[in-house]
């Protein structure tokens, strides 16, 4: 066995460099370097549009063990700019697997690095915060730093437009229509994960997916029973057009916001958002339901959060992150709005919060009842 992998480097904005071996594409790539602590679910993570513009580090060291299969992707292709792992498995084992992770990266023309001290990089990001990084086969430090300086900051990037659908479509599972479709849901695609659609579909919703820049009029034109604002990448403060749309809609239809959707709705209610030091990304973030005191492990993936220093009587904080006491969810009973900062659709991560989709459906039912 000869080790034929090429050397690869991760340069960080602060001048540090980490060595490893090239996996995936050999092209150069940059992005905001973030880490996720989930121990499973790399295929779901890589294809999650919320990672657009980011280089992802898997803190779990053994990645690729069960390969890649045609069923688990959360969007059509890999979304991350690069993938950094301690050890890449080149002999995947799972009966669904049709491709190795290495080949998946190559097919998507995404570069990565393996055999690198991922824990050391994680600690750096934990203490210094997220920063720009460059994956390259070129070990020229000056050159790398120059490239990093000249590239756009993550916060300035227009990411939602690049991951959102360009056209309106209806999502319906290909299964025979044994589910009676009772609820007409419009989902504003800011970077939606398929599992949100799958779950809503399985609960009897007919889902119409609209591009991120749809107007309130367009949205309401579909006569929805409920509107979902999806998760997505980037800084919510750049999306005030959508905030305006939300403001126009509030009160007329039940609304659910997930992750970026939650942040946008919060902004519509007058909250500010801010960038977290290094974000919450993983499958073990404890969230407390402030309404009943219960605690749930949740799947999270966000770099921004809603500031809690605004006193807002119109909307209540419903959930709180136990690690840093940031806002994890909001509720406005009068206008039938619920939002969560985390991922009730899981995939990857714990499925404990799937009940929130049921709650949303209950809210829709009650809303309709009240209307009648």
């Amino acid at each position: 066995m000869i080790e034929d992998k090429k050397k690869a480097y991760l340069f960080l904005d602060d001048g540090s460099v980490y060595h490893g071996k090239n996996i995936g594409s050999e092209k150069e790539s940059n992005g905001e370097v973030v880490f996720n602590t989930s121990m499973t679910g790399y295929q779901e993570m890589l294809t999650d549009p919320s990672y657009k513009g980011q280089i992802l580090i898997a803190t779990y060291p053994l990645i690729g063990n069960y390969g890649i299969n045609p069923y688990f992707s959360e969007s059509n292709n890999i979304q991350v700019s690069g993938f950094i792992v301690r050890s890449l498995c080149d002999f995947p084992s799972h009966n669904l697997s049709t491709l190795s992770l290495g080949d998946f990266l190559i097919d998507n023309n995404i570069p990565g690095i393996s055999d690198i001290d991922t824990r050391s990089i994680t600690k750096k990001i934990r203490s210094k915060g997220v920063m720009k990084g460059l994956i390259t086969l070129n070990n020229d430090e000056k050159r790398a730093l120059k490239i990093l300086k000249s590239t756009e900051n993550y916060d300035q990037k227009d990411l939602v437009s690049s991951v959102s659908t360009k056209t309106v479509y209806e999502y319906m599972s290909q299964k025979e229509d044994d589910v009676q479709r009772k609820f007409n849901i419009v989902l504003l695609d800011l970077g939606v994960k398929r599992n949100i659609l799958r779950i809503l579909d399985s609960k009897g919703c007919k889902i119409t997916v609209l591009p991120w820049n749809s107007s309130a009029k367009t949205i309401l034109g579909f006569n929805p029973d409920g509107i979902v604002f999806s998760p997505g990448p980037g800084d919510p403060s750049r999306l005030d057009d959508i905030v305006k749309v939300v403001k126009e809609i509030i009160g007329s239809v039940p609304i659910m916001g997930i992750c970026l959707g939650h942040q946008i709705i919060a902004r519509a209610f007058g909250f500010d958002t801010f960038k977290l030091h290094f974000g919450h990304r993983g499958g073990n973030q404890p969230v407390k339901d402030l309404m009943n005191g219960k605690v749930y492990p949740t799947a999270q993936n966000h770099g921004y959060a809603v500031k809690s220093d605004v006193l807002n009587r119109e909307i209540e904080v419903s959930h709180m992150n136990l690690n840093d006491q940031t806002i994890s969810g909001l509720i406005n009973k009068k206008d039938a709005v619920i939002t969560i900062q985390y991922h009730s659709e899981a995939s990857p991560g714990p499925q404990d919060s799937e009940y929130l989709f049921n709650e949303f459906i209950t809210i829709i039912k009650n809303f309709n009842k009240n209307k009648d």
Binding site: H19, Y60, P61, N69, F72, F91, D117
Partner: protein
């Protein structure tokens, strides 16, 4: 309601047996600390003195008493606790609390069951109730039937179809179970299963052999918050007991969908069972999903079954705690008081709460430690009945490295990843056994493909491929010249320097030097529960070859404590007790303790026991690396080698050779004490008698020595553990047989075998601290069995009951003389034998004291003697090792005066689990654990010990005797005693003749098993209550005696192979009926 609980009784798990080892000392100790933090007064009861939990520092009140409902009721009356906690004491604790409840004792005394309720426990433990619950939850369980008779069993199998699995209800480590492929096998397995079950019930299940076995550790609080701590994947597919499986954490071959499927099921189950505390759930997972080829979509998820739920803290919880850093038992104890998960702090990050699920950024591998290096004739196959006595765990950043490190941690002499177990070229046996993993490596080395291997073993191909990676690296190393890159890759994959040296055919030291020259030195990473997401404060590290080191040398004065590795026969929990106390003692003298150990079950590997914990193998490479990592301002920390059993003391020489300082007795002292020639010279010069004998290296020399000193002789290899391969031989013929069957020893044990005169007499054991000038003996222990039975298998009594003042004086003098002459600094353990000459007239000449053996280290009896005398031996030893003199301490005597009570230590065996192993007592140790009985008089203390070790005889009934010719003369006294106690006799012809000649009637039975009625018939009929059977000199296992002993063991009928044990047991059998209980504190402070 929680405020009412101010005093809690915690039930310990009793002696160490297979299926219930040190993990419950860890759990119990954590629970005690945790409850006391909450201001609760803790009363602890356990029959096992070798535990940390029974320390007066750990609980407020300690009772070392038999774990029976009658005794517990007495303790309840004495202490009047508000609540009882049984879910941390293993199956023993759980069963005991259920019994107490069934008997109405808890209600009567108004004691609340804390944590998981009795109803929940029953629901999880009773197979039928559990099935109904699972069906209601829509959680799949394999087809199965609870059966109480062979007829029901056969009907069930008919319904399910063969093969079927037999699982007895309410047993430890699945004892009495198995997989039956046909009716004949089923009848035999079900029969033993029914007999092993407390409720005479077995479960007949659909066989899922070949499915993946995955476990989840789950916690729930009374507020219905539930989390999973960790999942674990067994490399051995279903069919091998999880305690006997190689286990990896977290799972490696499960997708997120698989992982969450089982995780969600786990949470649903723990909620439905209303568990308050920890719980372990085992699943069988079908290794494939079904897809629709036409439409390209998933038709259904994987099939899985819920196999078992343990509604308590378990062996797996201890492993999960160590694997993740999450203190399961500590949190479970607080939950039992009514605390919510989010009300408790995560002690690791000190910021976040306990309501989180650990994220790992490393891989953990556990390998069981089996006792077959000692029981070479035992049945080495493994299955649904657990056989391992202990386990090792290793942590690294890749599976291969964690696996190889775990192999190293097993500490099996001359065995490494490279070992070829059957060089003879026979085909490799892929059936599950203790040595299968070496067969697997060997097969891959010979070119078998990973897929073929997976077909043979049922391992997921991922594991087979990982093993192949290791083999490829072996080949790469052997076929390429070594360079920095290759060496680094080998080290990153977990290759030991010693294995690289064997492949490269250079010395280990050369590999080490090359490695250091290339700058390839290990880094240490922290186990922090959160994959580095938060800053953590756990001083818990593992080695790996990465770029960033997180364990900076401790600046303060510090000492490394070498632990004792996996629990095995001869090296048990006692040494963990010593290591833990060493860490505490160091703290008291203002030194930082650094613990090194590889055993996940123990208190020593709890990260808050020491100042810093390195979870590493206990071998030269890893200790030297740790020392180097801890060098601060060019000062190397000292190491303590005398508390970690033979494993630690064996490292003295290599540490000394590499100029690493040792604290306490020097390497030279250790060597002089262990090496026969200098030791003989020393005893001769001190005029301390030693049994005559010699060191030999071949049969001729052995015969010469034996004939010159006279038979019987004791033979044993030098430098061994627990009397391994030690035998008493009566004549030349037996000596020849010994050589034939132990030929391999002459390659392994530095070529030397000791042949000594066997002196039959009273065996006495002494633990002492020596400061180089003087000694301190806390108390002398006398063995019930005459010399010849391994001290670890003997019943020991404190204070001695038969010794004269003069003999005691001599023992104290010899102990001092030899300790001082050797220059012992710290602990030593000496075995003496006293030979009485009844014919001599002169008082002083009536007996002679011989020194049998000296171990320059802590011994198995340290916890026992420390507890009963109240002399903190480890604490004193550490002070002495640090330069304090005994005269500076408050101990005025060389021998502390006797306390006014008796304490008896009795061995406990796990023989029913180890099929094929002969149970007779001899010089080779066989017990896995120990119990203690303590009371104001000897008979009561002995009775309590016998009850706890399950050797107590009923007060009436028939005893079966089969006594070897050479013991017939000495057994007359015993026979008279048996008669006087009113027992009846059954005996084999020769023994019956003897009994009748003494004037007593005896039922005669056949000696050979082919004729009836024979001993086995009587045992099976349950018409006898005990067996006394001494062995003939020639011990081929196929003898009738072997069958008798095995059957008695498997049917749990007391079987005595030493006349002395039998005498003591019978003598005490009917003397005491109403025991008094008293806390240890009250006894010791008398």
């Amino acid at each position: 309601m929680t405020q009412e609980i101010s005093k809690v009784l915690i039930i310990g798990s009793g002696p160490i047996v297979i299926g219930q080892a040190a993990e419950f000392d860890y759990a119990g100790t954590q629970a005690c600390k945790s409850l006391r933090e909450e201001g609760v007064e803790v009363v602890l009861v356990n029959s096992n003195p070798a535990t940390i939990m029974t320390d007066l520092d750990v609980a407020d009140k300690v009772y070392i008493e038999p774990l029976t409902p009658e005794i517990i009721e007495k303790i309840i009356i004495e202490e009047n606790p508000d609540g009882i906690l049984g879910t941390l004491g293993g199956q023993t604790g759980l069963n005991l609390v259920m019994e107490l409840d069934e008997l109405g004792i808890l209600t009567k005394h108004n004691v609340k069951v804390l944590g998981t309720s009795i109803t929940s426990i029953k629901m999880a433990e009773d197979r039928d109730e559990f099935r109904i619950l699972m069906n209601n939850l829509n959680e799949p369980v394999p087809k199965s039937f609870a059966c109480s008779s062979i007829k029901e069993v056969l009907n069930a199998a008919e319904e399910i179809g063969y093969p079927v699995v037999v699982r007895p209800a309410y047993t430890l480590g699945g004892s009495g179970g198995g997989v039956a492929k046909n009716q004949e096998m089923l009848e035999s397995i079900a029969d033993s299963g029914l007999k092993a079950s407390r409720v005479n019930q077995v479960l007949i299940e659909e066989s899922l052999v070949g499915w993946k076995e995955v476990e989840y550790e789950v916690m729930r609080d009374s507020f219905d918050n539930a989390i999973t701590i960790c999942n674990m994947e067994n490399i051995d597919p279903l069919g091998v007991h999880t305690g006997d499986s190689i286990v990896v954490a977290p799972s490696q071959t499960l997708t997120d969908k698989d992982y969450q499927l089982l995780r969600s099921a786990s949470l649903k189950i723990i909620r439905a069972l209303s568990i308050e505390g920890g719980c372990n759930i085992q699943f069988a997972l079908e290794p494939y999903w079904i897809t629709d080829p036409n439409r390209g979509e998933l038709i259904r998820k994987q099939r899985y079954y819920v196999i078992e739920v343990n509604p308590r803290v378990s062996r797996s919880s201890a492993l999960a705690s160590k694997a993740t850093g999450y203190p399961i038992a500590r949190i479970a104890a607080k939950i039992a008081l009514g605390k919510k998960l989010d009300e408790m702090t995560n002690v690791v990050t000190q910021k976040t709460t306990a309501a989180f699920e650990p994220a790992l950024d490393y891989c953990v591998v556990k390998i069981p430690r089996w006792p077959f290096d000692k029981f070479e004739f035992g049945d080495r196959t493994i299955g649904t009945q657990m056989k391992a006595t202990g386990e090792v765990m290793a942590i690294d950043r890749t599976f291969e490295a964690a696996f190889l490190k775990a192999l190293r941690s097993l500490d099996i002499k001359n065995q490494s990843q490279l070992s070829e177990l059957n060089e003879s070229g026979e085909s490799i046996d892929f059936n599950p056994s203790d040595s299968r993993i070496w067969g697997v490596m060997s097969a891959l080395r010979k070119g078998m493909s990973p897929n073929e291997l997976s077909k043979e073993t049922g391992f997921d191909p991922w594991f087979s491929n990982s093993f192949l990676k290791i083999i490829k690296m072996e080949k790469e190393l052997s076929s390429n010249s070594i360079n920095s890159d290759l060496l680094l890759r080998a080290k990153r994959m977990g290759f030991a320097d010693s294995d690289i040296s064997k492949i490269l055919k250079i010395s280990t030291e050369e590999v080490r030097n090359k490695r250091i020259k290339f700058g390839i030195i290990p880094t240490y990473k922290m186990v922090d529960t959160c994959a580095a997401e938060f800053e953590a404060f756990t001083p818990y590290f593992y080695s790996t070859y990465e770029t960033e080191n997180e364990a900076f040398p401790i600046h303060h004065d510090k000492v490394i404590v070498l632990g004792s590795g996996p629990i095995r026969i001869g090296q048990g929990i006692e040494f963990d007790y010593c290591s833990v106390h060493a860490a505490w003692a160091l703290n008291k003298i203002n030194k930082k303790s650094i613990m090194v150990n590889s055993n996940p079950e123990t208190v020593s590997t709890d990260f808050d026991t020491s100042e810093r914990l390195y979870f590493e193998p206990l071998d030269e490479e890893s200790i030297r690396n740790i020392i180097d990592n801890e060098i601060y301002e060019s000062n190397k920390p000292k190491s303590i080698v005398q508390f970690g059993g033979q494993t630690a003391i064996n490292l003295a020489t290599s540490l000394d050779d590499s100029s690493n300082p040792i604290m306490g007795s020097s390497a030279k002292t250790i060597d002089n004490a262990s090496d026969r020639v200098p030791f003989e010279k020393l005893t001769a010069s001190l005029k301390i008698p030693q049994p005559p004998g010699g060191e030999v290296s071949n049969i001729k020399e052995a015969v010469d020595v034996a004939n010159s000193i006279g038979f019987p002789v004791v033979v044993r290899p030098s430098y061994v553990l627990g009397g391994m391969s030690m035998e008493i031989l009566q004549n030349n013929k037996e000596l020849e047989r010994y050589f034939e069957s132990h030929s391999s020893l002459f390659e392994d044990f530095r070529g030397s075998l000791l042949v000594d005169s066997y002196i039959e007499g009273i065996e006495v054991e002494v633990d002492a601290v020596c400061d180089g000038r003087n000694i301190l003996i806390p108390g002398i222990m006398e063995h019930i069995e005459r010399a010849g039975v391994h001290s670890g298998d003997s019943i020991a009594v404190y204070p001695p009951i038969n010794l004269t003042k003069k003999e005691i004086e001599i023992i104290v003098k010899y102990t001092k003389d030899i300790g001082v002459a050797l220059g012992i600094k710290g602990l030593m353990n000496i075995q003496f034998v006293i030979k009485r000459f009844e014919t001599r007239v002169n008082q002083d000449q009536r007996s002679k004291v011989y020194i049998l053996e000296l171990n320059p280290r802590s011994s198995r009896t340290i916890p026992f003697i420390s507890k009963v005398t109240g002399v903190p031996m480890i604490d004193i030893a550490v002070k002495i090792m640090n330069g304090t003199l005994l005269s500076d301490l408050d101990y005025k005597h060389q021998l502390i005066p006797n306390k006014n009570f008796y304490a008896v230590k009795a061995p406990v065996f796990s023989m029913s689990k180890l099929t094929g192993v002969d149970t007779f007592l001899g010089p080779e140790m066989k017990s896995t654990g120990e119990v203690m009985g303590i009371d104001n008089n000897f008979q009561s203390a002995l009775s309590k010990a016998l009850i706890s070790s399950q050797l107590q005889l009923p007060r009436y009934g028939k005893l079966l005797l089969s006594i070897a010719d050479r013991d017939k003369k000495t057994s007359e006294k015993l026979i008279k005693l048996i008669n006087s106690k009113g027992y009846n006799f059954a005996a084999t012809p020769g023994t019956a003749d003897l009994i009748e000649s003494l004037g007593f009637p005896s039922e005669r039975i056949e000696k050979v098993l082919s004729r009836h009625p024979n001993a086995v018939d009587l045992i099976e009929d349950k018409s006898i209550i005990g067996v006394i059977n001494t062995v003939t000199g020639d011990r081929k296992t196929l003898q009738d005696g072997f069958q008798i002993r095995r059957i008695a063991t498997e049917r749990k009928i007391p079987c005595f192979t030493s006349l002395d044990t039998a005498y003591a047991a019978i003598d005490s059998s009917s003397t005491v009926t109403n025991f008094k209980v008293k806390s240890l504190e009250k006894f010791v402070n008398l």
